[in-house]
Symmetry: C2
Subunit: 374 residues, 2 copies
């Protein structure tokens, strides 16, 4: 193997595939990034066996970024590869195998010889396209992730809740995340030839989110079967295992009729809750909201530390209400909405309540109240 | 106690005094910041018993920032105080004691009641001025810290080496830091009525450095005796214990005559060494520099990982030299110099060598070579 490549392009490509690498993997080959030069294409692969990323660099006659002199393959520990390529002070980097797995990287006056691993020990990763496909705008896909992924469960007790459920059916795309104490749901009109019901791990969504750009003009293709999902965009193939198990049907948990509604500035609500979070009870911040048509009061209290009390400005309609909830949960729900105002819709003091955007009915955030013993 | 104060001024003052607070102090009162309103002045105090900081806020008739309605004192846990004051959404904050140690902070529509501690349990800190005084320009003082403090020892085995030694004598100010493997020395002409020889803890210098501004027009007054140093600037009193013990005389360790000199771009040297640091032997990065009038070669080698080799561009005079040293030590010495070029002055392969700034003879960095068994 022997090629020269643009430092910038190689560096970006390595950053991309390194998102899949677990540098402390018990399987030594997976600590590395595999580099293949073949048929005029440079292929970089990183994987932790749950997530695998493949990025291709091609020579562009308009903008020469790659010149393969001899085909071949190398497997090099990720941390050394990233560190060296980042620090080489040259627009062009040459990479060549000089003896067995000993690989030389050079640029400007500096050269680095790294003892690589045998590329044939790298697992054979099947990047073939599953037969179901749907397409999303990249900006929209990032927005779905931002509005739902935070609400997934961190606990492994119910593994299927550690991901976001995507359902395509009846002309709609429905994306749901819940940890049993809150729920985020994004529903969009979506006409498609396929139906699907898959649950994508939260970590997969975080990683794909950090790789793709907020580009409103670009689409991402999503291929899937029962076991895996493959995202394709910009010469990047990103695939992930799906979560096993049946995702619970959450639609009947969501109240549809409300007895009280509070309309409030989203920014003011977030700031007010943020101010109460210095008080923690058993490491939780439980806020209490007392609403009447005269006054809206947000309080938090702890025997040892003290208390906070803030009068909120908003429009409340309905019978007076006294409800307690996790401050951070309400805050992240409000942060996941857009627009200046938020509608908080209640049915009762011990019933789940909903945060909605008055100008966007595609997104809904549900929060369960917390029972208190004040 | 009852007063109103500008949020910005109070927040800045709390940030300043919190530098002295250790929030996990075994002495509960020291986890707090003491607030005293007295004679039209607001006094904030923080301390971990090694370092103590006192900041005064006064009412300025031109710019009213403080209005004391009733004198008094409070002692409030630092983390709550910082968090609340930072988050209060109001230009003016009112602080008043409402019952015993229960203290109310309020601004805009929000109020917070905090269970404080008894201010009379706070240790009585003597901020009186020791009788020796000298004065430094703030910008110069920050530069002294930047150029020496990194070279102090991290090990408690020789406590006196964990600080920077300041000597005023014979019309000079001499500032020295060493961990026995490297040494940084700044010597400035300084005419003073006093003589002194004190060692200021490294942490003290880091904290005072983060509090004072790089203001070339302002001075800092430094008062000292055998036990403590007191810095005064801008209504801030910052005092610290000094390190006990006699600081070693390092002047006879510093070579004065050199057999070889390398003149090289400081930036290129730092970058080249940085590129070699991906290789670590026993968690140290040992670089080898081979100099002759024909070629300057920087290498680093590790059986398992691989090797780096870089040709440096510079002017070398003297007999050929083959010397090994800690890469990070040379790099931080070079970073602590200024100017585009650095002179590296050698006497022999196993003798300490010196990094100097060709345009500033006030600063000197010494590095010991490392014996290698390649």
């Amino acid at each position: 193997m022997n090629f020269t490549v643009s430092k910038t392009e190689l560096n970006n490509a390595l950053q991309t595939v390194s998102h899949a690498v677990s540098q402390n993997s018990p399987q030594a080959p997976l600590r590395g990034i595999k580099i293949e030069a073949k048929d005029g294409i440079l292929i970089l692969t990183g994987s932790d066996s749950d997530i695998s990323i493949r990025k291709e660099l091609r020579n562009d006659p308009e903008k020469p970024v790659l010149n393969i002199i001899e085909d071949g393959a190398a497997l090099i520990e990720t941390k050394y590869l990233l560190d060296i390529v980042r620090k080489i002070d040259s627009e062009e980097i040459r990479i060549e195998i000089i003896d067995g797995t000993l690989t030389k990287l050079s640029g400007n006056h500096a050269e680095f010889k790294i003892n690589g691993m045998k590329p044939e020990n790298y697992p054979n990763i099947d990047f073939s396209k599953p037969n179901k496909e749907f397409v999303l705008n990249q900006g929209l896909f990032k927005e779905i992730i931002a509005q739902t992924n935070f609400a997934t469960s961190q606990k492994e007790a119910k593994p299927v809740l550690t991901g976001v459920n995507f359902i395509i059916r009846d002309g709609k795309l429905e994306c749901t995340a819940t940890d049993s104490y809150r729920l985020a749901k994004k529903v969009l009109p979506y006409s498609s030839e396929i139906e699907c019901n898959i649950t994508i791990p939260s970590r997969t969504l975080n990683e794909i989110n950090s790789i793709i750009l907020t580009d409103e003009t670009k689409d991402i293709s999503i291929y899937l079967n029962d076991r895996k999902v493959l995202f394709i965009t910009d010469d990047i193939l990103f695939q992930s295992k799906l979560l096993d198990g049946v995702y619970p049907d959450t639609n009947n948990l969501i109240p549809r009729e409300f007895t009280r509604v509070l309309k409030i500035s989203r920014h003011d609500l977030i700031s007010a809750i943020d101010r109460t979070t210095f008080i923690k009870n058993d490491n939780m911040t439980v806020d209490r909201l007392e609403c009447s048509q005269d006054e809206l009061v947000l309080t938090n209290r702890n025997q040892e530390i003290g208390e906070s009390r803030e009068v909120l400005i908003g429009e409340f309609t309905g019978e007076p209400l006294d409800i307690s909830f996790s401050g951070p949960y309400l805050m992240s729900a409000a942060k996941a909405l857009r627009g200046n105002e938020v509608l908080i819709q209640f049915t009762g003091e011990m019933r789940p309540f909903i945060l909605a955007d008055p100008n966007d009915d595609s997104i809904m955030q549900l929060v369960l109240p917390v029972r208190t013993y004040n």
